[in-house]
Subunit: 239 residues, 2 copies
DNA sequence: ATCAAAATTAAGGTAATTGTAAGGCCGGAG
DNA sequence: CTCCGGCCTTACAATTACCTTAATTTTGAT
């Protein structure tokens, strides 16, 4: 079982043995960052602090019910949230899904099914629909072409390859081609953890990217700065 | 039940009564474009021809099994695919999910649950794209067009870009298009802190905005002053 | 363990954007 | 007609967001 990426997960359940079971299952599946909360209060705090990539809720909690908690967090965030509950009545499933949960799994459950469902949802959310980039793999910027999946940049003078960060940044910019992308948004898509002092780190990476894709990095024609707002990429895509 | 958009759906099942049932359920839920196939061959052809936004498979089909069919189509496309099957054994669910299905629903099923699960998946997959193009608005002011997300203003004589403040002000005015926006309200949406002495600062910014979007900034036709009250933007928006 | 490549940090420099101020214009009230 | 208040206009000053280079740390491969 290979997960798409090592997502940080929050498990909310009041039974320690369930939490431990889930941690074991998830860690075996490749999720090394599993944090847990035993009640609503803890869950709210951890959610705000840790910004997990996904949340698994039990419905019955000591200081409130999982439905309300989920609804509350859903208003703040669009991250995957799913219920894991012993309550398997139809109304409960409908309630959970109706409130915006991505899945509702009933106990007892198959560990592998949980992992498959969770991974599927994470993949959907964090791997933006690929149909675009699968077919349109090549970015044309004047005399420079970027083959995205391979990370190869072809210029009149030679070939370069993109580093991981450059690739991540260009990807985000490309996905929003022609639109302004805020510095914050770029950082969040290229760095997992919060990047302290990114004001400058990002700039340096933008500079490096420009050195690879621009004819004259100091006079950018494609990767443009929008002062006070962010950056934007202009160019054409072809098959 | 409101669906996020009227997705075109393909239903693959060999029992006509199930197909009819699904069509009824889905149409009631707001999906008006439901097409169907009774076997693998038909499904392949329709999939290629119609390019549906989502597919619902039965596992047992007369000329092959749904698993192989799904796997085959999945290789071509990333659209949401889910199984609806009477086979509720663990191995089948794991198989379906493992092959990349977005969900595996067992018969008998609750119509509402099917719709909720399907809508959730469609939302996850298509919403990012929709919001992008929805917000990709263009403001038309006579011969001048403003592309908001890119911050580009196109005039007969050339192209200009908006600064952050201009962008913020125009945004507020645009949101209240045709209505008077007070100076105070404009300031609060464009400045974080209270702007001391903004009476003039705002005017200067309005002037600068007019220089970019008006043909004759001194004789404004779109960004109008309403003496003693504020400003108002008139113009048409198009997709 | 070692080395090369990549990522981050730091600091000084620069210019576009923004803020300020001062004088001018114009319509409405008296 | 004249005055006043609200708005316009322009030029200039200040700020801050961004650029650039280089040194340092981290990462990853061998």
């Amino acid at each position: 079982m290979k997960t798409i990426f090592d997502a940080k997960l929050l498990v909310v359940d009041d039974e320690p043995e369930i939490i431990n079971l889930l941690k074991t299952i998830l860690q075996q599946a490749g999720f090394s960052q599993v944090i847990s909360a035993e009640n609503c209060r803890q869950a709210r705090a951890l959610f705000a602090l840790e910004k997990p990539h996904g949340v698994i809720f039990d419905v019955t909690l000591p200081d409130g019910d999982g439905f309300s908690l989920m609804q509350e967090l859903r208003q703040q965030s669009n991250v995957p949230m799913l219920f894991l509950s012993a309550r398997d009545e139809d109304e409960n499933r409908l309630m959970g899904l109706g409130l915006g949960a991505d899945d509702y799994i009933t106990k007892p459950f198959l560990p592998r099914e949980l992992v498959l469902r969770l991974s599927g949802i994470l993949r959907r959310v964090y791997q933006p629909l690929l149909t675009q980039s699968q077919t349109d793999d090549t970015l044309v910027l004047g005399t420079v072409t970027v083959h995205f999946n391979s990370g190869i940049v072809k210029t009149p003078t030679g070939e370069k390859t993109l580093t991981a960060k450059e690739h991540a940044l260009l990807k985000k910019l490309w996905e929003n081609q022609g639109h302004i992308v805020t510095a914050d948004s770029l950082c969040r898509s290229a760095w997992d953890d919060d990047l302290y002092g990114y004001e400058n780190t990002l700039m340096v990476h933008i500079r490096r990217l420009r050195e690879k894709i621009e004819v004259d990095p100091s006079q950018p024609r494609y990767l443009l700065t929008v002062r006070g707002m962010g950056y934007k990429l202009i160019g054409e895509t072809r098959a």
